[in-house]
Symmetry: C2
Subunit: 127 residues, 2 copies
Amino acid sequence: MGTKSAQTAVDPQLACPVGPVVDIVFSRWTTPILWTLHAHGRQRFVELQRRIDAITPKVLTQRLRQLERDGLVVRTYHPEVPPRVEYEISELGLSLAPLFAHLAEWADGNLDKVDRARQAYDADPAH
Amino acid sequence: MGTKSAQTAVDPQLACPVGPVVDIVFSRWTTPILWTLHAHGRQRFVELQRRIDAITPKVLTQRLRQLERDGLVVRTYHPEVPPRVEYEISELGLSLAPLFAHLAEWADGNLDKVDRARQAYDADPAH
DNA sequence: CGGAATCCAATGGGATACTG
DNA sequence: CAGTATCCCATTGGATTCCG
């Protein structure tokens, strides 16, 4: 990981100004994680793991690290026995809420059209 | 809302309502393709290929097929010699424009914060 | 509990060559 | 021109094990 993002291997800025932000917000597993944190508030590692269907601890750790580095999630470590770690959405992460709402709204009004388009496409023997 | 121990195994789609639409709109290469089609209007395969930095014909074909199947892009085949094919955004695809604008707006106001968060994170030897 | 380390399988995407 | 076909490599993610 680190400085290199897989999706930006081909500088998308020229072809698509929204490329960088898509990398940050919509890379794999980020929306389920952000959504779960937003829906259930501050919670521990295992709670997150249980709520996000069958995600492995390795992948969850990777994604949480990225989200923490990007400032969208705040990690709090409590030096106890046993150790306790809590994750929550940051203020910056919370600022994505309207965008997610917008996305959900579009989905609500148009996902059925996508479905019908697919059925029509699949029904056409020319394809 | 209360936490139910009964539904420990949560379907990822349930865990994140925006999951399906993210798959459709923000899967790999789709935003550069949609953006280019929106910026330059109806255009041919090679034009698309040239404008989207170094995308291979194979991948471009795959993505265009998916976008066509999802009803976001319209493909028009002209049986000439040599053959001519044109792609354009559909009405459904165009309905994504406000969403993209919203995304660009968020990026414009917050991408620098992400950058600073990364620098702060990388500067901390604890990480 | 909250990970880290290791190994491995699947997949996506690049390069190249070819065709109607 | 607009793809298709083939090969191949890199990255991703899953499974498992181990540790402070």
